[in-house]
Amino acid sequence: MSISRRTLLRNTAALGAFAGAGLPHIWIKNADLAYAAGGEIKVGVLFSLTGTTAIIEESLNKATLLAIEEINAAGGIKGSKIVPIVEDPASDPATFSEKARKLVVGDKCVSVFGSYTSASRKAVLPVFERQNNLYWYPTLYEGRECSKNVIYTGAVPNQQQDEFVPWLVKKFGKKFYLIGSNYIYPKEENNYCKKLLEKLGGEVVAEEYVPLGHSEFSSVINKIRSTQPNVIFSTVVGDSVVALHRQYKAAGLDPEKMPMASLTTSENEVAAMGGEAAAGHFTSAPYFMVHKSPENEKFVEAYKKRWGADKVTHFVSEACYFQTYLFKQAVEKLATSDLTPPNIRDAVKGQSMIAPQGKVEIEPENLHTWLWPKIAQAKSNGQFEILVEAKEWLKPVPYAAYPGQSCTEKGLVEKS
């Protein structure tokens, strides 16, 4: 008699379930089986609820939980409920890593949804790679990463800038002032921006980075005044975005002549700075709250109903929401006994769905996501007006700024 791996697993599962009923857990030696034990699929939710970036990560936590609740209310995944285990990594990369290990090794989560900053993603990466687990990362980020253990559902530089930079040059002119917070994300985005500008014959009048959390921009504004750029290309993040916009407005600069073009200003930041400070400036992202689609209407309504009528959705919380559904689709494809992180990873390749922003799909090659770039202008009512929508969705190219390298299923490949 030959015993295939699958029947063995199934039999062990039955035994495990039987034994588990009497003597909880001590008989379940096979780690894989624990992933779908007792009609429950455990997933980790790892967004900071305290500390500096809690300001935004709280909304990511909320969007993820909303999707999980919706899936469970509609019957779960093939009868199994998703059980979210929420941890608070307190905006601290070391704590991120520690909590990730707890979720993966201790709680045996089959996947973890988490992180806003690149620093926190880099901190948890070794945990997921060593345990061969799966991390779902919803944020737009700087690219230049190729992990088999992360599903990236946010935009990479080519998806935010390929349309945006030429459009800005055409509309406002070729002189760009690059300003960002001082860490890896703005530097990589600016790197790519400079490449695009070079092709378009543009000029960078200044490239400058302010400390994270910086809130005094008067010297920066003086420099902007003296260099007179056509566009201020901003990758400033967090509360600095708010301070920069408000001080720009107070200094009497005019967005019609010298607009800020941002990759990071979402509805969330606009709500904090007030519509009058945001009005007239531009953002490029795959999603805006005002986007018209039945899926988005449903998402916005459900989000407000669940978390409060004054809450806003934005381009990162939308990714949190749809990636949870992609997780569901991938799990649905698998037999319960096959439910392991690597199998989910393989199942999610090429999965597509209609997200609030439009149809999205996981690119099998690099596990990033096909998205719909949009350019929008902020209005004084705190919302955006979408000016340009891409006619076609855009392939994610995480190494767009590095022509010699590309991310493939085999990992990072250097082209000679």
Partner: protein
């Protein structure tokens, strides 16, 4: 030349914000010797008070300044009375206690109103820019400059021309002798701490329309405030003013020539070097001890 004047004006504006934030700390640190690590949280409470008055009561920022001062001062009074004075204002114990109070205030705000950034409206009358020496500068920044000088003046008068100020100065010189002359040291300390806290609250409310309001906003301000006070010299109000403007010009200027990251590093380094050679700070009040 234009750029030079522009930068001087910018430095004055940065300096006035530093002065605003440091004044309350200077009073408490200078007169009571308490290193108040909750200072940043008083600043934060002030900013949140401005938000609450605006959002729930419809009061504009300018109209709510006095109530904000009173509310945060009351907080300060309670903390002095029921925490610090029970520790007899011992420096080491109070560092720890105020740090703890700071954390509690931060988390209390986070739990009660959430951690998202809050919005405080710029007073509409001051939302434009105006010309100063031919340089366009935000009217609100000019207003902040005037307010910070006025608050400094008021504080100086309070310390030097009123009975409470006289009593406080007497206590600073010798608490037990002052007490034997019938001065109620406990009461004066509580009032001083409340006043310092109130000033911090005002500072928070005043900077909130230019910056952002979040539960952990105080952390940055408390560092700035300590730099100003340490550089200026403890117990010297005039020193606080001078050092606020020196730091403002310095960090604004370096930020213009280089960038803000470099400015922050150089300013901090300069202070460390200066403290090494002049531990008492730039200015020292001569006190007979």
């Amino acid at each position: 030349m234009d750029q030079f004047i522009e930068q001087i004006v910018t430095g004055l504006s940065i300096g006035s914000i530093l002065l605003l934030v440091a004044l309350g700390l200077s009073i408490i640190y200078g007169s009571m010797g308490i290193i108040n690590l909750a200072h940043g949280e008083f600043v934060m409470l002030g900013a949140y008070a401005a938000w609450v008055f605006h959002t729930y009561l419809g009061l504009g920022l300018l109209a709510s300044l006095v109530p904000i001062f009173l509310v945060v001062a009351a907080f300060g009074w309670v903390i002095e009375r029921y925490v610090l004075s029970l520790l007899n204002n011992r420096p080491l114990d109070t560092i720890l206690a105020t740090w703890g109070v700071g954390i509690m205030l931060q988390q209390a705000v986070r739990l009660s109103v959430g951690s998202e950034l809050r919005y405080v409206q710029l007073p509409p009358a001051l939302s434009d820019s105006m010309d100063v020496f031919g340089i366009p500068i935000s009217s609100y920044r000019v207003f902040l400059f005037v307010v910070s000088i006025a608050l400094f003046g008021a504080t100086w008068l309070l310390m030097n021309r009123t009975p409470v100020g006289m009593k406080l100065r007497a206590i600073i010189q010798d608490r037990s002798v002052a007490a034997s002359f019938g001065i109620n040291a406990k009461r004066v300390y509580a009032l001083t701490f409340a006043y310092g806290a109130g000033l911090a609250g005002l500072a928070g409310a005043l900077v909130s329309p230019l910056k952002s309001v979040s539960p952990d906003m105080g952390t940055g301000y408390v560092v700035d405030a300590f730099m100003v006070v340490v550089l200026g010299g403890v117990q010297s109000l005039a020193g606080t003013v001078a050092s606020a403007f020196i730091l403002g010009e310095l960090s604004g200027g370096i930020a213009f020539l280089q960038n803000d990251t470099v400015a922050k590093a150089i300013v901090l380094l300069a202070i460390v070097v200066l403290i090494r050679f002049r531990p008492e700070g730039l200015f020292t009040a001569r006190v007979r001890a």
